[in-house]
């Protein structure tokens, strides 16, 4: 199979064989019913009401919406947004061929029922919570490595020889090592746990970081010993407010005071991190991190040198206070206040952030500063917030409604000769789909999907286990190349190292190098015409049929004298692959 290739090549190429987390290609059935139990409107009805509100707002602002997205455009966008990866060739062919009038709505529901959706949403929330660096390169990564090592041991054990072929039923299955916090969130999303309950779990998590991944958020900030950082992050992500400014002085341009800020910080004054001794018999120097509450720990508001700062007492932004006694679980009280139905920020901040997952921008932007701007479509925000509350904070229902809107299904393409200002005004009004750079993870998994790396089957269990590690290393490198984003909203602008990685790096170049046994090239070589080959590569990379002008360019390239030999043809095909993987069209969700 992979003989005669470089080691790295075979590692990269066979990555997907270890059930690489290219999720969601096959969506599961149904998911939750579109109509809620308590006489809730269907998500389709909800989407229709949003459409009506937005259409009225567009008319008033004299912004004409863009044309509806083509089927191919819609499919690719939805797959990236809802499952984190581009659609595979068969999915594209089937979707383009389907005459069903409701095929888009069905696609949305299937995507939301897939594992890829849970993974994607988990990552989307984990970024602002702890940042990529924490997830992939610090504590999260250490645990991922341990998980990978355990998997490797499990795979090598069990008395099976490395070459005995096939996977036994009891073999561990894995999407590959995933940061523990992401895995935890994924589980909650799979069960569609009401979002307020998930947030309360995160805010109050205690115990060993290796046993309870929900502690990772608290660990991320409490490790720095700063109640202030916990308060700032919690309020930013779950309330959509920027009150950190008030840490040093009364906020100059909002109503928040230093008193307000320290009132929230005081809820975390007892939150601490310790390191337990290693378990008996372990050869490690240190045990796990443990997040716990230390009674009697106090927080003081900073004062000039020589003066003692005032004691900070727990008082929430909405005015509620809790008692100072040790009998009060301050974090639990805060979690209740932050997610209470009476809280004016929680649902709004959540809805607005989820909207931004699918449009690149919130109805209020930035999503963590709800007070900075007025909402673009305030009635739409109000409607979704009311429905989100009524549904018991049902995140999946919220996503489904947004994905079924007309706005989500609009094209990103413009008519010829259209002025740039017109396009900008449309995008600003959510009347045209924006161009959004793929995230590091989307790009990584999409390159693997496009090149067929996930189709390679390896019989060698030891190799499969080793590939788990390699995949982690590669993904981490990929993520590092993109940089961190904690505390900042995700902006994956391109960087020079990232471009170099795609132009010359092993991920792309080894995966597209023609060789016998390569699942895509084997098929391409069996095809009868260059037209068929061109079509296949286009469907795999860009998720659409080639346009006539593109066919013409490629027919010529593939008919050149040097492309007539078998080796020449293979080279020419890999050049096409390379050109498309490095295109703007591939790099953006459009």
């Amino acid at each position: 199979m992979l003989r005669g290739s470089s080691r790295l090549l075979s590692l990269v190429a066979a990555l997907g064989a270890v059930s690489l987390a290219v999720p969601g290609a096959q969506a599961g059935p149904g998911g939750r019913p579109a109509t809620g139990g308590d006489g809730q409107a269907s998500t389709a009805d909800l989407a229709a009401r949003i459409d009506a509100l937005m259409e009225a707002a567009w008319a008033e602002a004299r912004v004409a919406p863009a044309a509806p997205a083509s089927d191919a455009e819609f499919l690719r966008r939805l797959h990236l947004d809802a499952t984190g990866v581009i659609p595979d060739e068969d999915t594209v062919r089937a979707f383009l061929a389907s005459p069903a009038p409701d095929k888009r709505a069905r696609l949305v529901r299937d995507a939301l029922a897939s594992d890829g959706f849970n993974r994607t949403m988990a990552l989307r929330w984990a970024y602002p919570l702890v940042g990529r660096q924490f997830l992939f390169t610090t504590l999260g990564a250490k645990q991922m490595e341990q998980a990978a090592a355990r998997l490797q041991e499990a795979m090598q054990g069990g008395g099976m020889s490395p070459m005995d072929g096939g996977m036994a039923d009891d073999a561990p299955t894995s999407d590959g090592p995933v940061p523990p916090l992401v895995e935890w969130l994924e589980g909650r999303l799979r069960e569609n746990t009401p979002w307020d309950a998930v947030v309360r779990e995160l805010l109050t998590a205690e115990g060993s970081a290796s046993e309870n991944p929900a502690t990772h958020w608290a660990l991320r900030y409490a490790r720095n010993g700063k109640a202030e950082e916990l308060a700032g992050s919690a309020v930013r992500v779950f309330q959509g407010l920027q009150i950190q400014c008030a840490q040093c002085h009364d906020h100059p341009y909002t109503d928040w005071t230093q008193h307000d800020f320290y009132g929230v910080a005081a809820f975390f004054s007892r939150t601490a991190v310790r390191r337990d001794p290693p378990p008996e018999g372990s050869n490690k120097k240190q045990g796990p991190f443990v997040v716990h509450e230390r009674p009697n720990r106090q927080l003081r508001i900073p004062a000039p040198p020589g003066e003692t700062g005032r004691l900070a007492l727990p008082r929430f932004l909405t005015g509620e206070v809790v008692g100072p006694g040790n009998g009060v679980d301050r974090r639990a009280e805060l979690a209740k206040l932050m997610t209470s139905p009476a809280n004016p920020y929680f649902a709004k901040a959540t809805v607005n952030r989820v909207w931004s997952f699918f449009f690149g921008r919130g109805l209020i932007d930035p999503v963590d500063d709800l007070e900075a701007q007025d909402a673009r479509h305030p009635a739409v925000l109000d409607l979704l917030v009311a429905d989100f509350k009524r549904s018991g904070h049902d995140l999946r229902r919220l996503c489904e409604a947004i994905l079924l809107t007309r706005a989500y299904g609009l094209s990103s393409g413009g008519a010829d000769g259209e002025a740039a200002e017109v396009r900008e005004a449309q995008v600003a009004a959510f009347a045209r789909a924006p161009l959004r750079s793929l995230s590091a993870e989307q790009l990584f998994y999409s390159v693997l999907a496009a090149t067929g790396a996930e189709d390679v089957r390896t019989q060698d269990r030891r190799q499969r286990a080793r590939l788990e590690r390699t995949k982690l290393t590669l993904l981490r490198k990929f993520v590092q190349t993109f940089g961190d984003d904690e505390g900042q909203e995700v902006v994956d602008e391109g960087t020079i190292p990232q471009a170099l990685l795609l132009l010359n790096g092993p991920l792309t170049n080894d995966a597209i190098r023609p060789r016998p046994g390569h699942p895509v090239y084997d098929r391409l070589f069996r095809m009868k015409s260059n037209d068929e080959r061109i079509e296949t590569i286009y469907l795999r990379t860009l998720g659409r049929m080639p346009a006539p002008a593109e066919r013409a360019v490629l027919r010529e390239a593939l008919a050149a004298p040097e492309a007539r030999t078998a080796a020449g043809q293979a080279q020419a095909l890999s050049d096409v692959y390379w050109a498309l993987l490095n295109s703007s069209e591939f790099a953006f969700n459009h």
């Binding site: 470089s6 720095n224 010993g225 950082e229 700032g232 930013r236 920027q242 950190q244 400014c245 840490q247 040093c248 002085h249 906020h251 100059p252 341009y253 900073p302 040198p305 930035p366 500063d369 007070e371 900075a372 701007q373 393409g413 413009g414 010829d416 396009r423 161009l435 750079s437 940089g483 961190d484 505390g487 900042q488 602008e493 391109g494 960087t495 020079i496 190292p497 170099l500 990685l501 132009l503 010359n504 790096g505 092993p506 170049n509 080894d510 002008a549 593109e550 360019v553 390239a557 050049d575 096409v576 390379w578 050109a579 498309l580 295109s583 703007s584 069209e585 790099a587 953006f588 459009h590």
Partner: protein, 432 residues
């Protein structure tokens, strides 16, 4: 300075304007350009010594927080010194730890600040503070000094990255965006990744691929072209310019004489510092080279001695090498970590985090040699004279490259942010 200014300036919104005076609002509307021009003019009018004399900057970053007592601020005879002796240097009256003998010979060109004082004793927060001059607030991602210097002074068309980080990442460009992000060299002893063509691809084949990429990209550009696609094109263009740059030789240490490579030290740090010199010669503006391992909670003296064994030859050779090439006067060299370490030796023969009083070194770029700013008490535990804040340090660094402390940048939300927190003034005595 008691409280740090968060620079929570107003957002340019309806709500923001309520809190602004009319004059302030008008100044805002006039935009950063005029503010910048004004600041430039003011800085020039004052014409302080050393302003703008540095054309480039090398940062030697001692990651983990080096013990000041065992490096730049020895306390011979005090119990806190442990086994470390002090040695005289080329600068009269200035002593260094015995672990830095080569640097001692160059102290006529190097100055020390022995009275750094901060409150950030956590690695991550202090690292951010020392790189950006701001305590982390979570509100604004402040740019680090390399990004700031490049934003203000680098040529955008330069065919190499203007900011390069060797051996370790930096906090990065923050609000200035990826255009000012450092190019990361994880290991100077290895070739730069992905700069060479992929295996089996020659220049001709690469060009054919690139032509195809452009031809096939046309349709997308026609229907969806805009700032995003232009940004993508620009990054791809820069990446390929870099691949073809004749200056790439700057990364090739084999072009240096063996004796000089030896003098810098053969490890990742010494060779990284040598690479830094080659890079700034090639036109790179800022290079940061990291030496990790200074978090010496246990076994401090053995470890600091070993680390100094890498720092000393690299730092001393860099000063001599720059001077030999007539580059020292126009190149600022900063050697620092995120904080100092407890003067009292702990039960593990280690020293813990200590931000109240610590030291760092500056050289070149207009900084006079042999000076010492501030001092600590005989036990090394308190600043006894002229406490220096981190914003003052930031201001001093920017001063050398010709950036005034009152210059402004703007956050994504339109908040103005001084390049130096509170507009702190540079340390004049290093230049006079």
């Amino acid at each position: 300075m008691d409280h740090h200014d968060c620079s929570c300036g107003p957002t340019l919104t309806r709500r923001g304007f309520v809190g602004l005076t009319l004059g302030g609002a008008l100044g805002w509307l006039a935009g950063g350009g005029s503010a910048r021009a004004f600041a430039d003019e003011a800085a020039r009018a004052a014409a302080p010594a050393g302003f703008g004399q540095a054309k480039r900057c090398i940062v030697l970053w001692l990651n983990g927080g080096p013990s000041h007592l065992d490096t730049f601020d020895p306390k011979p005879g005090h119990a806190n010194a442990g086994p470390v002796k002090a040695i005289d240097t080329r600068a009269p009256g200035v002593q260094l730890s015995e672990y830095l003998p080569q640097l001692a010979e160059r102290m006529d060109r190097v100055s020390l600040v022995r009275s750094m004082a901060s409150r950030e004793g956590n690695h991550e927060r202090a690292r951010y503070f020392l790189h950006t001059g701001y305590v982390p607030s979570g509100t604004v991602a402040h740019p680090d000094l390399g990004a700031l210097v490049c934003q203000r002074t680098a040529d955008a068309d330069f065919d190499m990255p203007s900011y390069i980080a060797i051996n370790g990442a930096t906090p990065g460009p923050g609000i200035l965006g990826v255009a000012q992000a450092p190019f990361f060299v994880p290991d100077p002893l290895k070739p730069i990744e992905n700069l060479a063509h992929a295996q089996g691809i020659d220049a001709g084949r690469f060009d054919r691929r690139e032509r195809l990429r452009r031809a096939l990209g046309r349709a997308f550009e026609e229907t969806r072209g805009g700032p995003e696609t232009r940004g993508h094109d620009a990054v791809y263009g820069k990446a390929q310019t870099l691949m073809r740059s004749p200056r790439l030789a700057a990364f090739d240490l084999s072009q240096e004489p063996a004796a000089l490579r030896e003098a810098y030290g053969r490890g990742k740090f010494g060779q990284g510092v040598l690479m830094a010199r080659r890079l700034i010669e090639a036109g790179v503006k800022v290079v940061e080279v990291q030496l990790s391992g200074w978090d010496t909670h246990q076994d401090n003296f053995t470890r600091v001695k070993n680390l100094c064994g890498q720092l000393d030859p690299a730092f001393a050779t860099l000063i001599k090498d720059l001077a030999d090439r007539d580059l020292l006067d126009s190149t600022l060299v900063v050697c620092m970590g995120e904080f100092g370490r407890t003067p009292k030796i702990n039960q593990n023969e280690g020293r813990d985090h200590f931000a109240r009083a610590w030291s760092l070194a500056l050289a070149g770029g207009g900084v006079r040699g042999g000076r010492v700013v501030g001092q600590t008490t005989p036990d090394g535990a308190q600043v006894a004279e002229r406490p220096v804040t981190v914003p003052e340090l930031m201001s001093t660094i920017l001063h050398t490259v010709g950036v005034g402390p009152d210059e402004l940048n703007y956050s994504r939300e339109g908040r103005p942010i001084y390049v130096v927190d509170g507009g702190a003034k540079p340390l004049g005595q290093l230049f006079a």
